[in-house]
């Protein structure tokens, strides 16, 4: 075990999981109002591009993150308008948005930066690594949690924040109500559409941060399709965690650890394809233990409407 998991591997896991976790948290906002958002992949990609664009334009990291969020919000607004106003099927719209994000970022990469493939500038600075002073005193934690960007810290704080939001705040309570029974929510005068819009935009905010962490935190560059499927993993983490912040943290970490383990196993003589399978296989196995209860109820959910 010592061999397989050293602290630097776990440190890397904490960081690698961040964009997935952020996107999953965002996706849960949509899921909680009854919208299955498969566009997470595209939204994170747009965020990653926005962050680099912002950084290149302003040279200010804070503004860069804001621009990342702004560009994803714009995209989310489109998604919200099409699914809520035009009542498009959310999955079709989500898949199309993923196409759009891939095409648009590549196109803009070419027109704005005049490069194909990747934009990389040695002079560009990424998000700073913060060491929390009190953690530096503790030997193991110091290694585990050193050198992470503010967004990593923020992501883990958001787990708590979102938990409080869902289960302790008035706005969160209303949001959950819309997801649980939109007709009832409407009948007591809640603005269902407005809340759905807010949830989708909230999801955009999280995906923007996820993108910024990816392109300014993890690395400092943008490359075509650099999300590399993280949005879909986030979708799985969201479903496995049943849209529950702590659950999503757990399932993201599960996935992250398994991914880390698979990196270690690459050193052994197991074929790479099988080591790469490990996180997915383990997630399937995990599902035997964490069954989605809300999903089970659905079979009986066909009672009368009038």
């Amino acid at each position: 075990m010592e061999q397989l998991f050293d602290l630097s591997l776990l440190n890397s896991t904490v960081r690698m999981v961040t964009p997935i976790l952020l996107a999953a948290l965002g996706g849960s906002l949509c899921a909680r109002v009854g919208i299955f958002n498969v566009a997470l992949e595209g939204l994170v990609l747009v965020g990653a591009f926005g962050a680099i664009l912002g950084n290149a334009l302003t040279g200010n990291l804070f503004l860069a993150v804001l621009i990342a969020i702004g560009s994803v919000l714009l995209f989310s607004l489109l998604f919200a308008y099409i699914t809520i106003h035009l009542r498009a099927n959310e999955i079709v719209a989500g898949v199309a948005l993923n196409f759009l994000a891939a095409g648009l970022t590549t196109f803009l990469l070419r027109t704005i930066f005049s490069v194909k493939g990747a934009y990389y500038d040695n002079e560009m600075h990424g998000l700073p690594a913060w060491d929390l002073p009190f953690l530096q005193q503790i030997p193991v934690l110091e290694q585990l949690f050193s050198g992470h960007t503010p967004l990593v810290w923020l992501a883990y704080l958001f787990v708590i924040g979102l938990h409080l939001f869902y289960f302790k705040s008035v706005a969160g309570s209303r949001l959950l109500a819309v997801g649980e029974n939109p007709v009832a929510a409407q009948s007591i005068g809640l603005k269902v559409r407005k809340i759905q819009y807010a949830a989708i935009l909230g999801c955009g905010l999280f995906c923007g941060l996820a993108g910024a962490q990816l392109s300014l935190g993890q690395v400092t560059m943008f490359s075509e399709g650099m999300t590399a499927g993280r949005g879909y993993i986030a979708l799985v983490a969201m479903m496995l965690g049943q849209s529950n912040p702590v659950g999503m943290l757990a399932s993201s970490l599960l996935f992250g650890f398994m991914d880390a383990l698979s990196i270690r196993l690459q050193g052994l003589s197991i074929p790479t394809h099988f080591t790469l399978m490990l996180p997915y296989v383990m997630t399937v196995i995990a599902m035997f233990f964490f069954r989605d209860k809300s999903y089970l109820k659905n079979t009986g959910a066909n009672s009368s409407a009038r």
Partner: protein
């Protein structure tokens, strides 16, 4: 045959063209150019030659496997005079289309299609990877080296395996750990892999992960270890950490192909480009670089590796093609 039906309105359309029709060259890439410098270079080389020698050029990127054949057929139908394509992915399609159109001229870069109307150009990348491995083996202080490769596919063995052979040749005590990103476009994961290899003691990490190499460079810069780049001279980006670059003259090859065609010297058959033909190489060893040699790679080492290069060229050392094993 059916191909003639494929003619579209476009062919022969431009009536206002004053001089006699220019020769037309199509470059049909098997994938989107995307993050692949190999295709970028090919595109640049072709375009440059087209401009210089006054031929019309069109680059068509294929969205996926199924699109390659269609693009080839349309290029035939639209009357391109030379159709260049590239890579293993195009093999099947080109075999079909070239055989059906024996009067057309084709060229394929980076693989062999054995037909009388196809010019094939292949590279022996393994020779250059071997040299980088040799240099790394000589330079490492920790006797630990890393390789970050894109995917575990046969083609990449020309890099991963040959690099290891090179290391073994100069430093049998050094261990090499190979990690796969699982994707051609994931710099974030490539960077983490490089960081991990470094944390386990590797002081040089060989990048062979396409755009992921950019992540490897970042890791090297952050943690102060050494790495190498691919295709073009990457040492310019960060001479303090990117200490070598494995080179491949794709643009020159593409340029030559168009040039020969434009000058009426098109020749079918196979051309191989290795160290001997100067089609592949390594900075400082075979090619000059604008950046000075990093002290990590001593002049001593360079001298030794140059010797190895000469031995490869002379045939004293043979670097096997790992995909053929």
């Amino acid at each position: 045959s059916g191909n003639n039906q494929a003619a579209t309105e476009n062919t022969g359309g431009n009536g206002e063209q004053p001089q006699q029709a220019k020769q037309k060259v199509a470059l049909i890439l098997p994938e989107k150019i995307g993050v692949n410098p190999f295709f970028q270079l090919m595109d640049e080389g072709t375009k440059k030659a087209a401009e210089e020698f006054g031929v019309e050029e069109k680059t068509i990127e294929s969205t996926d496997q199924a699109a390659i054949e269609q693009n080839l057929r349309v290029a035939v139908a639209e009357g391109y005079d030379l159709i260049i394509t590239s890579s293993f992915e195009s093999e099947d399609a080109l075999k079909k289309v070239a055989a059906e159109n024996p009067d057309k001229k084709f060229a394929v870069i980076d693989t062999v299609v054995d037909l009388p109307n196809v010019r094939s150009v292949v590279f022996r990348e393994q020779e250059a990877a071997y040299l980088v491995g040799a240099a790394a083996g000589l330079s490492t202080k920790t006797n630990k080296l890393g390789v970050v490769a894109a995917q575990d596919i046969p083609m990449l063995k020309k890099w991963t395996v040959s690099f290891q052979e090179g290391v073994k040749a100069t430093n049998p005590n050094a261990s090499v750990s190979v990690n796969y990103v699982g994707s051609f476009s994931d710099p974030a994961k490539a960077k983490e892999l490089a960081l991990l290899q470094n944390s386990q003691g590797a002081d040089f990490v060989f990048g062979a992960s396409a755009v992921g190499d950019l992540g490897v460079f970042e890791a090297a810069k952050e943690k102060n270890f050494y790495t190498s780049g691919q295709d073009v001279d990457r040492t310019e980006m960060d001479p303090a950490h990117i200490v070598l670059s494995q080179l491949k003259d794709t643009d020159a090859v593409a340029y030559d192909t168009v040039k020969q065609f434009a000058q009426g010297n098109y020749q079918p058959g196979v051309s191989e480009y290795g160290l001997k033909e100067n089609g592949v190489g390594v900075t400082y060893i075979t090619h000059e670089s604008k950046t000075p040699v990093n002290p990590f790679i001593s002049q001593e080492t360079i001298k030794k590796v140059k010797q190895i290069k000469d031995d490869i060229i002379s045939g004293k050392i043979t670097v096997a093609d790992p995909t053929k094993q």
